[in-house]
């Protein structure tokens, strides 16, 4: 458990540095540090699929971000920030943070099972370390774990979930990725066609 706190504190400190620094290159490198800490955290949370995907996506994302910032000669932006808007935003965000901490309180498992006898819906989260389907046995994950191998034949249960039990979500994801890449290519390509016209 100490490793989780350490990695989360590392990610929070890197996020504060990324937000507050005036040098754009340092901010991009701190975003890389956040992603790397997140990948380590996924590995300790027993999710090796997600750790592999997070670290390679992090590397490509850093390349894209650096392409946008480092070739511009300006990496320092100076100026004053307006005072009133910042203070109001910070106050509102703090209020939302307090409300969120109150909502995300956790209770031990026995109390939640007591509460669920009277009302069947969830009102609080269980403690960190108990999965949701321990408290709610009607959830779908129990079926996926115990019958995943005989119904789909795949040894990797996450692959069987994304490509057999929930293949619609993967179809939607492929569509969203396709559309985003087409959008990025169309926005960027008009300049190079203009370059070709000017060169001719």
């Amino acid at each position: 458990m100490a490793i989780f706190y350490t990695l989360l504190l590392f990610m929070i400190i890197a996020a504060i540095i990324a937000v507050e620094t005036k040098n754009l290159l340092s901010a991009v490198i701190c975003v890389g540090a956040i992603g790397f800490g997140g990948s380590l955290m996924f590995l300790f949370l027993r999710a090796p699929d997600i750790a592999i995907t997070q670290i390679v996506v992090e590397v490509l994302g850093l390349i894209i971000l650096i392409r946008a910032t480092i070739s511009r000669d300006l990496t320092f932006i100076t100026g004053d920030r307006e005072f009133f808007g910042t203070v109001v935003s910070v106050v509102i965000i703090f209020v939302i943070f307090l409300a969120g901490v109150k909502i995300l309180e956790t209770k031990p498992v026995e109390e939640i099972q007591e509460i669920r006898k009277s009302q069947p819906q969830f009102v609080t989260l269980p403690d960190f370390g108990t999965a949701i389907f321990d408290v709610a046995p009607e959830a779908a994950s129990q079926t996926y774990i115990s019958q995943g191998l005989e119904k789909t034949g795949a040894a990797n249960l996450v692959a069987s979930v994304i490509l057999d039990f929930r293949a619609y979500d993967t179809l939607g994801e492929a569509t969203v990725l396709f559309t985003a890449i087409i959008g990025a290519t169309v926005i960027l390509r008009r300049k190079s066609r203009k370059l070709l016209e000017d060169a001719d």
Binding site: K22, P48, D49, I52, T53, V56, V57, V59, L60, I63, I64, R67, S71, R72, D73, L74, I77, T78, G79, D80, R81, E82, L149, T152, G153, A154, A155, N156, V158, A159, S160, I162, L163, D164, A167, Y168, T170, L171, A174, L177, F178, I181, A184, T185, L188, R189, K191, S192, L195
Partner: protein, 166 residues
């Protein structure tokens, strides 16, 4: 990526050490990406992570050798067509499930024709085929977007100071 200093022989790219090492390493990265895609139903990984790794090998080639070198191997229309082919294969597997099985996207190979044993390479029906289609699509898409990012906007004016707010 758009500005690389020309070397002493006038060729764009990085130094000799970087070029030599990256020409050896890119094959390993490509092979590793294909392994992660193919064995996605047995070990952690799958189509998405493997596709990003395969795109990463081409990005390494683009960074070390310059953009024109990669354009001879894998130009923009070819990558765009591979992208569409991957998406079309994925939709084809879904529609074949409707035609040969009972409903949309059913795992028709596992339930009717080719069960296979667990923990082998040929098992789990259409899951490896879907992994290959998605890996192809993701790799071609990401290569396309990074290639287009390196073409665009070569003639900006550096050195103009910006005096704005933070």
């Amino acid at each position: 990526m758009a500005e690389k200093e020309k070397n002493s022989n006038g060729v764009k790219g990085m130094t000799v050490i970087v070029k030599t090492i990256s020409s050896w390493v890119k094959v390993l990265i490509f092979l590793f990406g294909i392994y992660i895609i193919l064995f996605g139903h047995l070990t952690p990984g799958g189509g998405f992570a493997g596709g990003v790794i395969v795109a990463g090998s081409y990005v390494l080639l683009m960074l070390a050798f310059g953009r024109e070198f990669v354009e001879e191997n894998l130009s923009l229309p070819v990558a765009s067509r591979l992208d569409c082919l991957g998406a079309f294969l994925f939709a084809l597997i879904a529609i074949l499930g409707l035609a040969l099985g009972g409903s949309f996207f059913v795992n028709f190979l596992y339930q009717k024709y080719l069960p296979g044993e667990a923990l082998n390479l040929i098992s789990a029906g259409t899951i490896p085929l879907s992994n290959i289609a998605i890996g192809l699509k993701v790799a071609a898409s990401l290569f396309l977007v990074i290639f287009t990012l390196s073409i665009c906007c070569k003639d900006f004016k550096p050195g103009t100071p910006v005096n704005g707010k933070e």
